[in-house]
Symmetry: C2
Subunit: 254 residues, 2 copies
Amino acid sequence: MNIVFIGAGNLATLLAKEMSRYGLHISQVYSRTPESAFLLANRLNCSWTTSMNKIIPDADWYIFSVKDDALPELATQLKTNGGLWLHTAGSVPATIFEGRTDRYGVIYPLQTFSKKRNVDFSHIPFIIEANNEHDLDALNEVCKLLTGNVHFLDSEKRKQIHLAAVFACNFANHMWTLAWKLLEEKEIPPEILVPLIEETAAKIQELTPDQAQTGPAIRYDKTVINRHLDMLESEDMKTIYRLLSQSIYKTKQV
Amino acid sequence: MNIVFIGAGNLATLLAKEMSRYGLHISQVYSRTPESAFLLANRLNCSWTTSMNKIIPDADWYIFSVKDDALPELATQLKTNGGLWLHTAGSVPATIFEGRTDRYGVIYPLQTFSKKRNVDFSHIPFIIEANNEHDLDALNEVCKLLTGNVHFLDSEKRKQIHLAAVFACNFANHMWTLAWKLLEEKEIPPEILVPLIEETAAKIQELTPDQAQTGPAIRYDKTVINRHLDMLESEDMKTIYRLLSQSIYKTKQV
């Protein structure tokens, strides 16, 4: 089986490397930026291009792994061919490929990918979809090589999961960025927070986040809340503190 | 050594149990609510009371582990004695005990405690403080039984760490509560997010949260951001989504 990757970002890089580790053959990498295309192709020992016209027409799968904004345009630039067209976007319907190809689908790994960090794929939920049973079976077989955690869900449910993932991953991580900032301001090494973060996440394996909630907001400890608001110098952080404390307290009330 | 616990909440419960596991003798538990006092005393095989007047006067340590709001009042209710008075509050200065006792300090474990979950103390940072060297040494020795991670920091720094911990733990956990809610609304089992949450936290051991940030806000992917805002039904969640996305993007700009 031959696979072409359209995109060479964090997800494309890690997914292509992992597929290649399981003997799947990546034939070509496209990226708008030559450096990214070259870098990934070099790792995979395959060819690369920065021109959609030069993408090989006889691959089995074409995996689009690019910014959502870029996807519609790129889908019109790839010449119609006989392959299965897939994208990796959480929020984009599979039907974006309709009219351009007869065979299409989605391969969405629910994970956060940074190029600098290797990820253990074996527990990552892969959410897949295809417009025909034959391709869905093949997609399932390939995903089962990578993970024990494959889900068949439609575009509507996948979209909701992607939205939830922004809260669960991106926004949670940003809370850590803000915490780092607060400690760096006072010259306290922020790594002191790492065991707390580990335990905060570990609790979720046993308790629901609702049950796991602790802190001044859930106790409605006004003395602490007001002291904290006084301590915060940034207006943005004051607003965030106030809004999230209210939201925690409201969630409890329900 | 004899220890009295004033308070029987999550932290008091887990700390008292852990101290007792290492052969420290808990003599008495005070709580305003008889059920809590009884429950913890029963676990520790010690006496309990709901009256501050009946607290034994000859203990070595008195550990106040109560809501910040309740601390000043309780500190005036305990009769002056010869023991070391400690509290476990992140944001309260050690000097709250001044005038009530000659020996005082703080024992603050930087962790999130839920009664339903046992915690491995061995990596928890303990932040300690005492108003005299002798007690600080003794406090250090006891904390070193429980953890390999003891820090001597003053009340100002501890207060800042507590504020940072609200972001790192309480607010991050609340993001997971909101994510759970989004999935439950659409009848998707929220546990699908657990591997993502694990990896989000695990990244922090290798990368700074700044480096680890992913998602539509850091990419300034307007298409996704607007789609997500349209999908959110709750006005509160829309506001949180907008505010945190802006904050993520601003942090990158700096």
